[in-house]
């Protein structure tokens, strides 16, 4: 091999090594940027929504309803150990804060990361009023399925972790909204802890009464589903 070819090969080898090092550095930079964005989001949340602590807090397991790890069109309960207040209003705020802030993975998120719970109160008849920021309406992906899962995750998380709630009203920035993101109706109420339907007579099963495949929460027979 002539001297000229040796130089060319050496230069090519150096270029390959330099390229590999550059790609590696680029990857690290992308990871750092993602981490930085996540920590910025966390920092923003800590300022806008500081952790809710009350004197009656007890660390216990709560069930949060996020998108299933195995089926993107279903919700799935996930047990999370966290401080929960004995006061139903504070407890509701705690679980909704957790639902927004800490999904197990980003693709299991049901509510936009930038959404915030502005206020929450409970009327004497058990009606829960949850007032969210505009981001809930503006940044929830448009569509019946995605909007249904967003509202369903709020409703199921509340009814599972807070007693005495009978129905839910969702407000956007203090006002009644026509729909969440163009599809699912927010003008009505959503039943929480609805009574079980009476058993159907034998032989009277219809397709609508059949259990949803996989036991998801969005099928016709799902208990406590959306009913505004």
């Amino acid at each position: 091999m002539s001297r000229r070819w040796r130089i060319i090969f050496a230069l090519l080898a150096m270029a390959v090594v330099a390229g590999a090092l550059y790609v590696r550095a680029l990857r690290r930079r992308v990871v750092r940027m993602a981490e930085s964005q996540a920590s910025e989001e966390q920092a923003r949340r800590e300022v806008v929504e500081p952790p809710i602590t009350t004197p009656t807090d007890v660390r216990m397991k709560a069930k949060m309803f996020w998108i299933s790890a195995t089926a993107a069109d279903r919700l799935e309960p996930v047990e999370v150990e966290m401080p929960l207040s004995a006061d139903p209003v504070q407890r509701s705020k705690q679980v909704l804060h957790e639902l927004i802030a800490n999904p197990p993975t980003p693709d299991r998120r049901t509510l936009p990361a930038s959404a915030t719970l502005l206020d929450f109160y409970i009327l004497p008849d058990g009606t829960a009023i949850a007032d969210f920021s505009d981001a809930l309406a503006n940044e929830t992906p448009s569509g019946i399925l995605s909007e249904e899962m967003a509202v369903d995750s709020i409703a199921r998380t509340l009814e599972t972790n807070v007693n005495r709630l009978h129905r839910l009203k969702i407000l956007i920035h203090g006002q009644e909204a026509e729909s969440l993101a163009g599809h699912v109706d927010l003008t009505g109420f959503y039943d929480l802890n609805p009574p079980s339907p009476p058993p159907a007579p034998l032989g009277a099963a219809t397709p609508a009464q059949a259990p949803a495949p996989g036991g998801g929460l969005t099928g016709s027979s799902a208990p406590g589903k959306l009913k505004p």
Partner: protein, 211 residues
């Protein structure tokens, strides 16, 4: 009555690869209209082009027809690609006692009194929920046979566009604008149209028997 959702300044769901819900649903509705007309049904559309009638305008147009059924078309942002769901409206089962109880709370609007024999606009769908559910179930069976991975039962969800329709009303939603190639959604139109036409034909005797 066929209702392509969104339109005009409201594009609906948008995918990263260029799929726009308002355009896709219009193509789906047009294909369905052709199939239904071929079978002898009279078809009215809530929009023929890139307009965006309000929910109320769409419902009013449907309510002006006699013996109609209402089918609203949508495309999801999520869900398993190539699957289709049928939805009917479901109202709350708990009585509305709080609305007027707290006038200081602007978020809760009090229901207006309705004269006897009249139907309140915001619950106009209520007397038709059972028929709507049956139509959605018939339709979902057809969809599950035509589109692999689709559920076999319909879902009851408060889809805003169905609430004020005084007729059996369902929404159909394809998944999703997240597909790699938007043409796959347009390619679903002929099969979807056939499934809907078959479901409408199967539902017709149920509807006429209930009237």
């Amino acid at each position: 009555m066929l209702d392509p959702g969104h339109g005009g300044t409201d594009p609906g769901a948008r995918g990263a690869t260029g799929a726009v819900e308002k355009d896709i649903v219009l193509a789906l509705a047009r294909a369905t209209r052709a199939e239904l007309e071929r079978q002898g049904f009279r078809v009215v559309m809530t929009r023929e082009g890139d307009q965006n009638p309000s929910f109320e305008d769409r419902a009013a147009l449907a309510n002006a027809q006699r013996g109609a059924i209402f089918i609203s078309f949508h495309v999801a942002s999520t869900g398993a690609a190539g699957t289709v769901r049928a939805y009917s409206y479901q109202f709350s089962t708990t009585p509305d006692s709080t609305a007027s109880a707290d006038p200081s709370n602007p978020g809760l609007s009090a229901p207006a009194p309705v004269p006897a024999g009249w139907i309140a606009w915001n619950v106009a769908q209520k007397p038709h929920t059972d028929l709507s559910r049956r139509l959605a179930d018939v339709l979902q069976v057809e969809l599950s046979q035509k589109f692999k991975g689709s559920l076999e039962i319909s879902s009851a969800v408060p889809v805003r566009g169905l609430r004020s329709v005084v007729a059996p009303a369902v929404a159909v939603e394809l998944s999703s604008v997240a597909v790699a190639d938007p043409r796959t959604l347009y390619d679903m139109a002929p099969v979807l149209a056939t499934a809907i036409a078959r479901a409408v034909a199967a539902f017709r005797p149920l509807y006429e028997g209930a009237k």
